[in-house]
């Protein structure tokens, strides 16, 4: 036991404001106290998103549907990428559903500071609350897309084009968690960076568009030429797409080392993202 001199005066203070911020000060109890706010912010975003629109939440379905149709047209019909026995529509839908999850979580989280600067400069709550509510909303929208994916999948299974394997399907949950984690952690880091350096937000959009092409979304890892393999392998998202496709189709290149690499990458980036976000969130208000 180290001897601590306790000043009776400081004993029953409930809170304290000090100049310094620690790297790791997530207060889970405080965060839990803000759960109503998290849900309310997600609700506000959701309602705001579809206010005065023709199709409302159906946009969440329309967007992947249209994208898939274009992909099938361009990559499979025009360029002629083969999807084997799998119908091209399902093949692309699987990739795009997971990609949408990653890109939306990443992009929306990275806007945490730039979109909420005004609120942040007027009222206090743990800033990570906003990021969590964004994450929650994106997961809900993803769930809608997942339903579309399952509907298509089950339709094809019932037609006898595919074999259903329950053990494989369960694989999607760890894959979803790892993908979300990488998107969220990366988003947190970029939310701090874009708040400080505005020009980075343009870079993010470019980055995400380019990243899409190096992920095996409309092609499989096995299609990549030998001398370019390393390029796909260093991308921690690659194996996630392969496993996600495997869960539905039972085909693909599986590599447990690559999956472990993705998992470790996810844990690292989430931890670093939260730490950076925490450390910088107080300072950023001064320069927003």
């Amino acid at each position: 036991m180290n001897k601590k001199v306790i000043n009776p005066e400081t004993l029953n203070w409930e809170w304290e404001i000090r100049p310094e911020t620690s790297w790791w000060n997530i207060n889970l109890k405080e965060l839990y106290a803000y759960k109503d706010l998290i849900l309310q912010l997600a609700r506000k975003e959701f309602l705001g998103l579809y206010q005065q629109t023709l199709l409302g939440p159906f946009w969440a379905l329309l967007q992947p549907l249209l994208t898939v149709l274009i992909y099938v047209l361009v990559f499979n019909n025009v360029i002629g990428i083969s999807t084997g026995n799998v119908p091209p529509f399902l093949f692309n839908l699987i990739g795009i559903t997971l990609w949408n999850l990653f890109s939306e979580v990443f992009l929306q989280t990275s806007k945490t500071f730039s979109l909420n600067a005004e609120i942040f400069s007027k009222v206090y709550f743990p800033r990570v609350v906003v990021a969590i509510s964004t994450l929650w909303l994106q997961l809900l929208l993803f769930a809608v897309q997942l339903i579309l994916l399952f509907a298509t999948y089950l339709f094809l299974v019932l037609q006898g084009n595919l074999n259903f394997n329950i053990a494989n399907i369960l694989l999607i949950f760890p894959i979803i968690i790892i993908t979300t984690g990488i998107g969220f952690g990366g988003g947190l880091i970029f939310s701090v960076l874009t708040a400080k350096y505005r020009d980075l937000s343009a870079l993010i959009n470019l980055l995400i568009r380019l990243l899409m092409f190096v992920c095996p979304i409309f092609y499989t890892m096995s299609m990549v030429p030998e001398n370019m393999q390393w390029f796909v392998i260093i991308n921690p998202l690659s194996s996630l797409f392969e496993y996600f496709r495997y869960a539905f189709l039972g085909t693909g290149t599986l590599n447990i080392f690559l999956l472990s690499y993705s998992t470790i990458f996810m844990i690292t980036i989430v931890a670093f993202g939260i730490m950076l976000f925490n450390k910088m969130s107080d300072k950023l208000i001064d320069i927003l």
């Binding site: 005066e9 400081t10 029953n12 203070w13 409930e14 809170w15 304290e16 404001i17 000090r18 100049p19 310094e20 911020t21 109503d36 706010l37 309310q40 912010l41 609700r43 506000k44 309602l47 705001g48 206010q51 005065q52 609120i119 942040f120 400069s121 007027k122 009222v123 206090y124 709550f125 400080k196 350096y197 980075l200 107080d282 300072k283 208000i285 001064d286 320069i287």
Partner: protein, 421 residues
């Protein structure tokens, strides 16, 4: 001892002027590299003592602020623009961190630095009550419980399911304040929110705040330019000036101190030699002075204070029929009155003049005075324009009305009411 709910020690806040940070990622990384790894001296680094280096100027928005607030106390914070009031509130509300110092406290804090924080224009009034309530720190159950009360207070029942973007600005503000007014924190921090809404609504708001501190025993910290409201709502006040506490104590004394330094600037003009004195070949003005006869122990001009204008000028002509007139203008240039003496015969030499403005005559506001010198009641000799300016402060007793009092003058003519039989 134990009833102190906020104790601030040595609070300071430093801001850099100009572009914050060096603006580019490359430069920041280079600085970090040199600073942390190579241990080189950073040309942009702030050095204790406020030494200015490079083109990075710094400013202490707050410097060594100490204070304590007791349970149930209402504290007013006054000061000029840029005195650090808002910075202090932001630190107390945990929005920004202090550069130095510690604040300790107990109890739930809510801050109202703006009306309508978190409102979403596309959403209905109903949704926004929930959004804003949650952002300000209310729980869902709390909002549900008070929902009807909030709607009732705002007076926008009919439009509660309309998106707030279609609200008039008055309705918007009323709804926003209604949410805020129903917060029930232990400590409430309020910044200037009274500058909004019509007079009637302002009265409602002040009433609500008064209830918060006197009836519910809540601790209130209140920043406002409305000194009348501060002195009525807060028994104690702090005057911030250039980031430091200039004066503290009961709000009556603090406000008195504050206004008297503000007012005294232009009460007297004096010239010692003929050359510098304003005037012309006929008239040279040597001094003009405003002498208030302060009421009670106050040292500021308020609506009760009788004023005397004294002036002394040199008349260059013998046997001249001379009159001097005082013109009193509002700041916007409207003349309130024009008084003068009957023309009198004067010899060459100094002449003293005096004019008394009774108390309980002018309304509160800013005024200036011009003096006109006339020969033979028709020929203007010299017009000394805007020679004095002064402010008249409001004073009210036993009154629940804090809005603007109408009219240029505020005489105490009796108004008599009788019960008719």
């Amino acid at each position: 001892m134990s009833d102190i709910v906020i104790k601030a020690e040595n609070i300071s806040k430093l801001y850099k002027l100009g572009t914050i940070g060096s603006g580019s990622l490359r430069r920041d990384m280079q600085l970090w590299w040199e600073d942390k790894i190579l241990n080189k001296e950073n040309p942009n680094k702030y050095i204790t003592g406020g030494k200015k280096i490079d083109n990075n100027e710094i400013i202490w928005a707050l410097k060594n602020i100490d204070f304590e607030i007791k349970q149930g106390e209402a504290l007013g914070i006054i000061g000029h623009n840029g005195a650090g009031k808002s910075t202090l509130l932001k630190i107390l509300s945990r929005i920004v961190k202090p550069t130095e110092g510690v604040i300790r406290g107990r109890g739930r804090v809510s801050s109202l630095l703006e009306v309508g924080t978190g409102f979403h224009a596309e959403l209905t009034g109903r949704e926004n009550i929930f959004v804003s309530g949650h952002i300000l720190g209310m729980k869902k159950a709390e909002i549900l419980k008070k929902f009807d009360e909030i709607v009732d207070f705002s007076g926008v029942e009919a439009f509660i399911d309309t998106p707030v973007k279609r609200y008039s600005s008055g309705m918007y503000v009323r709804l926003a304040f209604a949410v805020a007014a129903h917060l029930e924190p232990d400590i409430l921090i309020i910044d200037e929110v009274l500058a909004v809404g019509d007079a009637d609504f302002q009265k409602k708001c002040l009433g609500k705040m008064n209830d918060a501190s006197t009836k519910s025993g809540r601790t209130v910290i209140f920043v406002s330019h409305n000194l009348q409201a501060v002195s009525n709502l807060c028994p104690k006040a702090i005057w911030l000036d250039k980031g430091s506490v200039r004066s503290r104590g009961t709000s009556k004394t603090v406000i008195n101190d504050y206004l008297s330094t503000l007012q005294k600037k232009s009460w007297k003009k004096e010239f010692t030699d003929l050359k510098n004195a304003p005037g012309n070949d006929f008239i040279k003005v040597f001094s003009v002075e405003l002498k208030p006869q302060f009421v009670e122990s106050s040292s500021i001009i308020d609506i009760r204070t009788p004023l005397t204008i004294k002036f002394r000028f040199y008349n260059t002509s013998d046997n001249i029929l001379l009159a001097a007139g005082i013109h009193l203008f509002t700041l916007s240039g409207e003349c309130i009155f024009d008084v003068s003496n009957d023309s009198l015969l004067f010899e060459k030499g100094f002449i003293d003049g005096e004019c008394n403005i009774p108390g309980n005559f002018l309304n509160n506001g800013s005024y200036y005075i011009s003096i006109i010198f006339v020969e033979d009641s028709s020929k203007q000799l010299y017009y000394y324009e805007e020679c004095l300016s002064f402010d008249v402060e409001d004073y009210r007793e036993n009154m629940n009305w804090y809005g603007d009092w109408m009219g240029y003058v505020r005489p105490k003519f009796p108004v008599i009411l009788k019960q008719s039989k």
